[in-house]
Symmetry: C2
């Protein structure tokens, strides 16, 4: 269904009765961004307002605070806030420190929800002429390294680089699909693709409910190497964030994130760097496509969806999810 | 075939007539490490001394020098040296700067060969109680994002984290296999696995010669997401290193690398961090294995091979490759 961006925002904001007005704006802006990018099939937007633990029910225990800080780093205690608020604060601090020191790392823990799409935060960093690299961990959902047990979270990794035009943006779960992808498939009564999911006994399944009930997702490409990237996210956003890790018992209790921001100027000429990044994109777009396929860079579809939504002033959202939240 | 470590080192060192004695040691130490880890089937060791462009034939144009430097960063001009020498210097500088500033990034370009296994450098960083993350680019060898053209290099990504015992180490090409894997398969007259390689016209092939002659490898897991990690390596070790990128015309001319080192102490308590990293490994090892599979962490086999080799004082190397170099 189509809804005006204004109307959707006006409907989201009052849901967050436990947050301050400025915080409600931050969350609403994120959720609308995710829906604008998702083109009606996104998994990182208002789906987070539906289901068993909707994020508007989170009651923070306090303010987000730096527990440890240096000119190049900060560790944030999220004080039980929604992940989106904490990640936005982490990105803001990473930008500020990288602009002064050249490079920064900010980690954060004590979230009570996922922070959503990494693209949202890293693109903001790239729009400040910095490189942004981000990863997050969540409760254990993905098998790893020959196991059938859920070990790592869906552990997304995102990055963005400035160019002479739109930033290069990449954002992907290191699992075969996102957890909210399973939640949405389950709400719609849809099956999962073959070969990417296991039930709690480790048997292959295509039923999203089996994943949600102590089952597990495969790493992307069913690859051992993908598990290595999932482990990197788990280490940076878990132990390096003073938070939980490999933990499937506290689904609603502990997420974590890590952001690295780099000012390219400390290494190379900024103008040349942005031109090189643009030339890199152009070279990929100029490659021969596989017959029946097309060259498509990460974030192309999200940006197309976002721009179309911006132009029309409306956003395409999932009717089932909408009904569960506002119906 | 088995050879004593001492004997192999004594045979390698005199090959490097264009380098200073200390530099020959650095390269020999690396190559022997790679062979010790490889257990006779490694692709990152003395195979680099065979083939059309053996690394001992490289004549550097000068000394490796910092072109730009800050307290948290350095850009190195490799002056046409073998990649191993440049990467070792980059790792040394990254360690020194991260110990002082808390975090560092070092990029390097103008290599005349690959720097080999990222594990070698990142493990050194982790042994200094730092987190090491490294990636490298090489000439275009892997298709990406729906293409049949070689776009990215095999672009390995490696990382290492300190624990209370051996570091956690991960190192993987973002392509389905390494380029030297193709070189070795070709030398042995072996086929590649199905579904991971294309000839120069984009047709599937299992002939390693087709890859070497302007063909291409798939990304790992045949995954679009793997291409995203390959692109990250290409961006950090190409444009951010002031070097070449997406380039399959200068195979013997331009590699690049990027290393990030992080002192965990700037974010968290060091003792707790190392204990947490060890606990993370223990939790993975305690998971249920898939029937017929086993839980195996990255680098387990390499470390087993390395330790067995160290204990015996001998190393298992490929007889065909050995014959090509020393025969």
């Amino acid at each position: 269904m189509k809804i005006s961006i204004q109307e959707l925002k006006a409907k989201i904001i009052p849901l967050f009765i436990h947050l301050k007005p400025a915080e409600r704006e931050v969350i609403a802006d994120y959720l609308i961004y995710a829906e604008m990018c998702g083109g009606g099939i996104g998994t990182q937007g208002i789906a987070k307002l539906a289901g068993g633990s909707p994020i508007q029910d989170i009651i923070p225990t306090g303010e987000i605070k730096a527990q440890r800080e240096t000119p190049v780093s900060a560790l944030l205690d999220g004080a039980g806030n929604p992940g989106i608020l904490i990640a936005q604060k982490a990105a803001d601090i990473a930008i500020e420190k990288a602009k002064k020191a050249g490079v920064s790392i900010v980690t954060a823990h004590n979230f009570r929800s996922s922070n959503g799409a990494q693209s949202y935060y890293v693109e903001q960093i790239a729009k400040q002429d910095l490189i942004g690299i981000m990863c997050s961990r969540s409760s254990s959902t993905a098998v790893a390294f020959g196991s059938i047990d859920p070990i790592f979270g869906t552990n997304p990794v995102g990055y963005a680089f400035p160019t002479t035009s739109d930033p290069i943006v990449f954002d992907a779960a290191t699992s075969a699909m996102t957890f909210y992808g399973c939640v949405i498939a389950n709400a719609r009564g849809e099956k999962l693709p073959e070969g990417i999911a296991f039930d709690k006994d480790g048997n292959p399944t295509t039923n999203p409910a089996d994943v949600i009930e102590d089952g597990a997702l495969a790493p992307f490409g069913n690859s051992y190497k993908a598990s290595g990237f999932a482990m990197l996210a788990e280490l940076l956003a878990g132990p390096l964030a003073n938070g939980a890790f490999i933990d499937n018992k506290t689904y609603d209790k502990e997420w974590g994130a890590a952001i690295v921001a780099i000012d390219p100027k400390i290494l190379v000429d900024m103008d040349k760097f942005k031109k090189d990044c643009s030339a890199l994109v152009a070279a990929i777009r100029a490659a021969r496509a596989k017959p029946g396929d097309m060259i498509r860079l990460p974030y192309d579809r999200a940006r197309e969806n976002y721009n179309a939504s911006l132009a029309s002033g409306t956003v395409e959202i999932d009717e089932v999810i909408y009904g569960k939240i506002f119906g």
